[in-house]
């Protein structure tokens, strides 16, 4: 009893390319690079005496004191009131329209969580505030 049909003794290589490309595409699609995302800030140079001694009129300063995630106090001239984070954007936008020289000073308390400061900074960015100063709340203030 001899076999009549010949069995091919080769591995089919024509689909190998498909497999390789499939792997290639799979890895290309599933690789997720670590993306760098965030809020940028340029710090002032230390010992800039000229800038430090420059008197800023009181009406051009607006303070946001951050005590916690839901505890932000706005101070501007004689006005002082607690503010929710979502209302900061509209308020700052309106204030900037009235006075374009406004400098916004963000003062987080030392024990305030980092995210609370970021949330307020985010709102200031959204309101397109260009002049922002960032410094920790001193014990004598607030």
């Amino acid at each position: 009893m001899k076999r009549k049909t010949k069995v091919a003794n080769e591995i089919p290589t024509s689909s190998m390319a498909d497999i390789a490309f499939l792997l290639l595409v799979f890895f290309l699609v599933t690789t997720n690079f670590m993306e760098e995302k965030g809020l940028g800030l340029i710090l002032p140079e230390p010992g800039d005496a000229q800038a430090a001694s420059q008197k800023i009129p009181r009406k051009n300063m607006m303070y946001f004191i951050v005590y916690g995630r839901d505890h932000v106090v706005m101070k501007h001239q004689d006005e002082e009131r607690q503010m929710g984070v979502p209302e900061i954007r509209g308020f700052v936008e309106a204030s900037l329209q009235r006075n374009e020289n406004l400098i916004i000073s963000l003062k987080p308390a030392p024990d305030a969580p980092y995210a609370a400061m970021i949330n307020v900074l985010d709102e200031l960015r959204a309101a397109d505030a260009k002049r922002i100063s960032l410094g920790q709340l001193k014990p004598t203030e607030g």
């Binding site: 290589t13 024509s14 190998m16 390319a17 497999i19 390789a20 490309f21 792997l23 290639l24 890895f27 290309l28 690789t31 670590m34 993306e35 760098e36 995302k37 965030g38 809020l39 940028g40 800030l41 340029i42 710090l43 002032p44 140079e45 230390p46 951050v66 987080p108 308390a109 030392p110 024990d111 305030a112 969580p113 980092y114 995210a115 609370a116 400061m117 970021i118 949330n119 900074l121 985010d122 960015r125 959204a126 960032l134 410094g135 920790q136």
Partner: protein
């Protein structure tokens, strides 16, 4: 004399047996050239911010990690703010376009972040990026 017929037949198919080799070569090339994150970092939850923007120059970023209790880590080593400033100063000398990528936990106390920012200023690293994420965690 009319025997100028071609004797050998020209193969009309494109050879496809080397296609697999090419594909594997590409695969290996991408696998080798992909640079993965080399830093381990600290376990943190990034704060969420709506105005999050992509940062262009990835190569220039040096990460400073801060976890929830306020431990600072640079290059996978726990450091003091002063040591961090020294590290950043050294990095700045080899790469003047360096950017500090601050990856701090949402609940890290601000006093630690303030100390880091002060030391960045002293080290001459004025460009800082607060790493945030756009979507809610």
């Amino acid at each position: 004399m009319g025997s100028f017929k071609r004797r050998t037949k020209v193969d009309t198919t494109i050879p496809s047996c080397s296609l697999a080799d090419m594909a594997f070569l590409l695969l290996i090339f991408f696998m080798v050239s992909t640079a993965f994150k080399t830093e381990e970092g600290l376990k943190i939850v990034l704060p969420q911010a709506e105005m999050t923007k992509k940062i262009q120059r990835r190569q220039d970023i040096r990460h400073v990690w801060v976890n929830r209790p306020g431990v600072i880590s640079v290059d996978d080593l726990p450091v003091s703010p002063y040591q961090m400033a020294q590290f950043l100063n050294k990095e700045l000398q080899s790469n003047p376009t360096m950017v500090v990528g601050l990856r701090a936990d949402s609940d890290a106390p601000y006093s630690v972040v303030n100390e880091i920012l002060e030391n960045c200023r002293l080290a001459g690293a004025y460009r800082v990026q607060f790493a945030t994420m756009k979507e809610k965690p």
